[in-house]
Symmetry: C2
Subunit: 343 residues, 2 copies
DNA sequence: GTTAGCACTCTAGTCAGATGAGTGCTAACC
DNA sequence: GGTTAGCACTCATCTGACTAGAGTGCTAAC
């Protein structure tokens, strides 16, 4: 348990280090207006904080920098939670005032705004298609053996996939099936589509349609979850401006990881559908390359279910307060906007 | 005009520099098996080549490196044009053997293969939608005031766009128009769509349809060239492995430029529909950030018209021979595949 | 409990000298 | 005349010594 003064000093050190990126010494803390103690006193407390694991010393005659445990404490107990800073609010409001009428556009644009505002890397996870439902299905023949399957979801997203059509299936048959599918399966959540395909249509189709087996296979692949979640990255090169990453090798590992979609997906997928804000510091990200990075994530949702997430990746020495504030506002407003569109 | 021996020496220097990235001295050239002269002789020739502008010297007591003019000469006259190296051919053939039945997937996958094979950055320009034609158009209502416009092209690509529907337009009217459009405008090249919309449908619509003006506006925005060309980047971080870019600042400029879609588009769009291979060295790229980069581009085409391009970006010290070989094979095979699919 | 003072530590920067790769020139060689 | 050996010269890079300065830890005084 930290004393009030220790908390104050830890707070001051993290604040200083966040802006300067240099180890902070007792003298500079003492000179700040808000801590009324001499360097010597502060040195004593710093030594204690180091023993407790909240601070680290790069070498004997340098100042202290926060350890991961120190950041964790800072984030959990000390972050000045100014959820509504005026300047930022303005930019975000402007963003939502713009007329963008496709969900995808909004997400993409939001990623850009975020990385520009924060000067970190933003990673947005597109709306989780699985929680939306079918609005319309269509199969457009391209030539004798291929067709394009088009799925329009309740949020207006369009997914398409090319499928091959086995010979012997007539156009009129296909049309019949597609009509049937549209009449029976509209408004069914996408993740239930394949199972309901059999339970709802199976019987009826078997009666009316001659190439039942083959057609079923076609539909099966057409509805296949090609609805992979899309990841929108923006400002990846902002990483290069951080002094801790001026070494090319370190930054290469990070950028390489950012190109690995599956890994990012895993990182951003909210732990258990929860909607809170998460901060993962250093190795809490479970990746060597991110050992000196922090990832802050929030979610946006529809009907109380998390649809996707917003994340900001930066060095562990990150402006937590500001980023968390921005992320909070943006996730809330995104949620509100979705609710308004698709209520 | 260079003598045979000068060409040989220039060739040796470029070759050496490409693999070593260090200024090459007269001694190391002399020791190569293929040049049977003493260092002194080679030094004389090198001095001449420097006077002619083909070589540069970082400082007096260093070896020589090729100048941009030197690279240009190398590319134009000396590249060992081994258009069919076995190892590479194998990988590419394997790639085309994979069953990928959507153009987009092929392009995306090709970008990855290319960057992996070359260890440079690959930039692919998706099929130029403007040169394909309309196969099917559809307008799907989402709610009272919005709809999704879906355009399927002759190459099986699906473009979609959300449009807002002015009040007072009935569903049946819209259906009528869409049917008319499909019957009259199928197989029209996309870039002519908007003009033909008026010339072909204008009269008839004015006769049958009540909200002519408003509907026309809707169709106009629906057919708007949102068919932006897609750019597929892969291996952007490979730039970081090149010794000449171990300085973070330089590489940041390059990566930033790579995120600027319009700039890339301009760079990759083939000069005049020509289908040859282009090599742009250093400042020939017209961008400060690419001053130390070379961009090699080739095109793939359908019906003799260039549909899109494939590009490899690397340092000016690039394995021109290998990359040009690979690019040549890939562009030819892509063209062949497209011809086979959509003949 | 707090603070001033002081010796101590360690990094980063600077500077001189050594090293060595590579050149340019001259004179000798074939 | 073309080619080559020899040699003086240049210049980047490496090394080690030295210094300045920031910061600490400890002790003793307030």
């Amino acid at each position: 348990m930290l004393t009030e003064r220790q908390r104050m000093i830890l707070n001051a050190i993290v604040d200083d280090y966040i802006t300067s990126a240099e180890p902070v010494g007792s003298r500079s803390i003492s000179k700040r207006g808000d801590v009324g103690y001499s360097p010597a006193t502060i040195r004593n407390e710093m030594a204690d904080l180091e023993d407790l694991g909240y601070l680290e010393q790069p070498h004997t005659s340098a100042g202290r920098i926060p350890s991961h445990k120190g950041y964790r404490y800072y984030v959990d107990h000390l972050v000045p939670w100014n959820s509504a800073e005026s300047a930022e609010m303005g930019t975000i409001r402007e963003f939502f005032a713009e007329k963008l009428n496709a969900t995808e556009q909004v997400i993409q644009h939001a990623a850009m705004i975020l990385s520009n505002m924060t000067n970190y890397t933003s990673i947005l996870l597109g709306p989780e298609v699985f929680h939306t439902s079918l609005r319309h299905f269509q199969l457009l023949p391209l030539d004798d053996n291929t067709a394009v399957a088009i799925i329009v979801t309740s949020t207006g997203q369009v997914e398409n996939k090319t499928v091959s059509i086995p010979p012997g299936i007539s156009l009129s048959e296909m049309e019949k099936v597609v009509n049937l599918l549209n009449s029976k399966l509209v408004n069914v959540p996408l993740y239930k589509l394949k199972s309901q395909l059999y339970s709802e249509l199976g019987e009826e189709m078997q009666r009316h349609i001659s190439h039942y087996e083959e057609l079923m296979k076609v539909l099966d692949t057409a509805l296949e979850s090609d609805h992979e979640q899309r990841i929108y990255l923006s400002g990846a090169t902002n990483m290069l401006t951080q002094p801790e990453f001026k070494d090319v090798d370190k930054v290469k590992n990070i950028l390489d990881l950012l190109e690995e979609t599956p890994t990012l997906l895993k990182m951003l997928t909210p732990a258990s559908g929860g909607t809170g804000m998460q901060v993962r510091i250093g190795m809490e990200n479970k990746h060597e390359a991110f050992a000196n990075c922090s990832l802050i994530t929030a979610t946006y949702s529809l009907d109380g279910k998390a649809l996707g997430s917003i994340g900001i990746l930066g060095p562990t020495r990150m402006e937590y307060a500001r980023v968390m504030g921005i992320l909070g506002i943006l996730s809330r407003d995104l949620t509100a906007m979705l609710a308004h569109w698709y209520k």
